[in-house]
Symmetry: C2
Subunit: 140 residues, 2 copies
């Protein structure tokens, strides 16, 4: 189960398991929509009363550092997080609710290499993201 593997990852990297971390991990490991720190805070307080927003920031920082979550950039803001993509995956995100799907299958490395060459750049990374409306938000 994902929650446990995330907790193990924290532990193996010398971090202690606290109720605050358990709650944030539980939330982030299962979310299918991108969440910013305040949203994580609001949606986690029930499971962990007394939780501080500061701790949410600190926990997200550690989860990102361990590669378990990734920051997601969207037209409306760039401080939301999602579980990390695996391998060469990209994101399809709902403009309205932040619901995300991962996809793969783009094959542009040759094209990117050519673009780099034409401009004298060495290319180290690419960002590809699709935005649209998820089934739920289309219905509204």
């Amino acid at each position: 189960m994902t929650t446990n593997s995330w907790l193990t990852a924290l532990q193996e990297n010398g971090y202690r398991l606290t109720s605050a971390r358990r709650a944030v991990v539980e939330k982030m490991a299962h979310t299918r929509t991108a969440l910013n720190p305040l949203e994580v805070y609001d949606q986690t307080r029930a499971a962990c009363p007394g939780l501080g927003l500061v701790t949410v920031y600190r926990t997200l920082e550690k989860l990102e550092e361990l590669g378990l979550i990734q920051r997601v950039h969207q037209p409306g803001g760039c401080n939301a997080y999602l579980p990390s993509a695996h391998g060469h995956q990209h994101l399809l995100i709902c403009r309205a609710c932040g619901k995300a799907e991962y996809f793969e299958g783009d094959n542009l490395d040759e094209f990117f290499a050519r673009v780099g060459q034409q401009n004298g750049f060495t290319i180290s990374e690419h960002w590809l993201q699709l935005f649209g409306l998820c089934p739920t938000c289309q219905a509204k």
Copy 2:
């Protein structure tokens, strides 16, 4: 000349031409590297002494609203601006100095439509950006 067409665009939309706006337009219309508000401010004060940072914010806001500049998202921050891309162009950006090149020729619309369909999403937009090192920064 680009500066003049930008100034005309401002004027035609009911905005007055001031020395502050001329200076910011002069800078933004010609920059090849992504600049954030403070950088614009610092690089514009010589041309317009007494310029306020607030005015830079307000002018960038208007230039973006008129579609003359676009916000650029980068791993290190998301508040820099560049002259807008034309047509279906994407950005290749230097990780070190922010130098940007525009490119086109990606042809992924069918692929994107398929990804959308498979997930029940209607797709309205895509972001594609390449990051690397420009010739100058490679040499350093």
